[in-house]
Symmetry: C3
Subunit: 227 residues, 3 copies
C-alpha cells in the first residue's frame, strides 16, 4: 500500500482483500462482534471494497438547509466513505460528481445507509458503491451533514471512524479497528478450512466427511451470542 | 421524429433523450414540481425510455371479471404505456404478448406501478419495461381496467395522459406536459454545468473549486419545497 | 433422464423444462391450484430449475443450537432442495460448500424462503439458487433443522416432498405431484397458443385479432378462484 491510511491499517486492509465477507462474518460471530450490515448491497455483483471508514452522518434539514457535504477533496486514498442517511430511500447522498472525484482520487469505495444516484457512472468507472438502492432524487435541501468522523450506523451496525469495511457480492461487513488483527486471524483460519473442504468435495468426498476432517464446525463455534 | 406523437411533443422527447433522470429531477426540484417516481426501476440497467404517456388504471375485480385491456394495437409509435396497478406485487399487468406487440409497433416503453412477467422477452427484444419487480402470476381475473387516458399514480407521482416520461438506470421521472419546455431548459443548464465540473475534476481540479466556478449549487436551488 | 427421481417424475420434469413459469402459473390458475411462490427470485436471470422437492424446515434455535443440516450428501441427482427458513432475511441456510457439493452431485437447484450466501460460487458453477436475497451472515447457531421431508412453505405456497418445482427469470412455481400431469397438459396448451399468437403478431397481426383466433382468453379462464 502506498496510500496514507497508516501502516497498521494498510496491513490489515491487504489481509482483508484475501477474505470474503462470509469468512469475516463467521469470525465476527465466533468473537461475539456484531458487524454484518443488513440490506446494503453492491450496485454491481462484481464490486469489492476494503478500507478504513471515513464517516458522515446526515439528518433531515430544518429551517437551515445546511450542506450535503464538501469532504471528498480531503480524503486519503484507500479510504472508504460511510454515509449514514438513516436508511432513507427517497433522498440521495451520492452521485455522479462524487463518484468521478472519488475514482480519480483513489478512494476505496462508498457505503451508504440510503440510496445513490447516477449509478451508470459508478459502473463505468468501476467505483464500488454499496447502498440500499438507487434513485435520482437529490438529498440537497432534504438532508444535511450533521457530523463528520462521528460514530454512524450502517445496516444496523455501529461504524466508527477508522473501522475496517469489507464488501463483496454478498454485502458489507464492518470490523472494529481495535479487533481487526483478531478478526482477520480467525477469518483466515475459516477461509483455509473451507478451501480444504471444497477441494475435498470437488474430488468426490462427501461434504460431511470433508467437514469433519477439517474440524469446520468447531472453527465456527461462537464464544457468545452475536445477535 | 417521424412518429405521430405531435411536433411539440416530438421536440420535447428529442430533448429529453439527451438528459439523465438526475438532471430532470433537479430541474423539477428547482421548479417545485413533484415528478420522481419512487420504487419503479428498469428490468435492466441498460434500458432508457422517453415519450408521452398513455395511461391505464387498474382496480381489483369485483363480481365482473372485466378485461385486462385491449389497448395495445391502437397506440401511436413512441408512446410510453403507464399502467397504474396501485403498486400490487401479486398480479401482473404486462407480459410476453404485450411486449412482442409493443416492440413491433415501436412503442416507447412501459412504466408499471406494479409488476410484469416474461421479463426474458423484454430483455431479448430490448423493450424497456420499468416496474416494481417481476413475477409470473397474471392479473387476469384479479384486476381489470378501470379507465384509459385518466390521471394515474406511478411511484407516488400523478401522471396525466400526454405527460412526458424519462427513464434510465436510476428510475423514472414524469414531466407535466404543460411545464415540459421549462423543465427541459433548466435540466439542460444543470447537465451542462455538471459536464463542465466533471471535466474539471477529471483534469485534477478539487470538486469544491469546480463546483464554485460553475455556480452549481445556485443552479440546484429550489424555488419552493418539492416534497 | 438417467437420474433416480423415478420414471413418472422424470417424464414430468422433462415436460416442465419446455415450459415457462407463466405457462404453468396460468394452468395452476385455470385448475384452481395455488402454486406461485411470491418473492423468491433467481440469483441470476439466466437460471432455470426443474425437479422434485426435497424439503427442509428451519426454526430459530432455542437452548439447543441443533444442526443446520447434513442432508446434502444423500440426495438423488435432479432433486430440488426447498429450504423453509420462514422468510428470514438475517440468517443464511445455504452457502459455498453446499453449492459446491450440490453442483458436483447433479442436484437440480435450491429454493430458499430466506437468504443464501456466497452467491459468487453459485454463479461461477451455474448452480441455480432462488431466494429472497443474499447476505453473508450464517444461520448456524441462529436456526436449526426442525424436519426433513415435511410439508413446508415457500413464498406463501405449500410444498410437499416430491412436488415439482419450476423456476425461471420470473420466479418459481410449485406443482403438486398428484396434479402434475393435468397442470402440464394445460400449461402446454397455453404455451402453444401463445406461440401461435406471438408468431401472428410478429408478422403484423393486431394482438386482439391473434388472440381471438387462438381462443386465448378461454384457455386462461379459471374454474374457481386461486387467490
Amino acid at each position: 500500500m502506498t496510500d496514507t491510511v497508516g501502516d497498521t491499517t494498510g496491513t490489515a486492509v491487504t489481509a482483508l482483500r484475501d477474505l470474503d465477507t462470509s469468512h469475516v462474518s463467521d469470525a465476527l460471530d465466533r468473537l461475539g462482534i456484531a458487524g454484518q450490515c443488513l440490506g446494503i448491497m453492491p450496485l454491481d455483483r462484481s464490486f469489492r471494497l476494503a478500507g478504513p471508514a471515513f464517516t458522515v452522518r446526515y439528518v433531515p434539514v430544518g429551517t437551515d438547509p445546511g450542506s450535503v457535504g464538501d469532504y471528498i477533496d480531503d480524503l486519503d486514498p484507500g479510504t472508504v466513505v460511510v454515509l449514514d442517511n438513516a436508511g432513507r430511500m427517497d433522498a440521495t447522498v451520492w452521485g455522479d460528481l462524487l463518484t468521478a472525484t472519488a475514482a480519480r482520487g483513489g478512494i476505496g469505495g462508498t457505503v451508504i445507509d440510503g440510496v445513490c444516484r447516477d449509478s451508470d457512472r459508478a459502473l463505468e468507472l468501476g467505483y464500488p458503491v454499496y447502498s440500499r438502492g438507487r434513485w435520482m432524487r437529490t438529498g440537497k435541501d432534504r438532508v444535511r451533514v450533521d457530523g463528520y468522523q462521528v460514530p454512524v450506523t450502517a445496516g444496523g451496525v455501529r461504524v466508527e471512524p477508522g473501522d475496517l469495511l469489507l464488501g463483496d457480492a454478498d454485502g458489507v461487513v464492518a470490523v472494529p479497528a481495535s479487533r481487526a488483527d483478531e478478526v482477520i486471524a480467525v477469518a483466515g483460519q475459516i477461509r483455509d478450512a473451507e478451501n480444504r473442504i471444497r477441494a475435498d468435495v470437488e474430488q468426490g468426498s462427501p461434504l460431511m466427511t470433508a467437514r469433519a476432517i477439517a474440524g469446520y464446525h468447531t472453527l465456527q463455534t461462537r464464544t457468545r451470542s452475536a445477535d
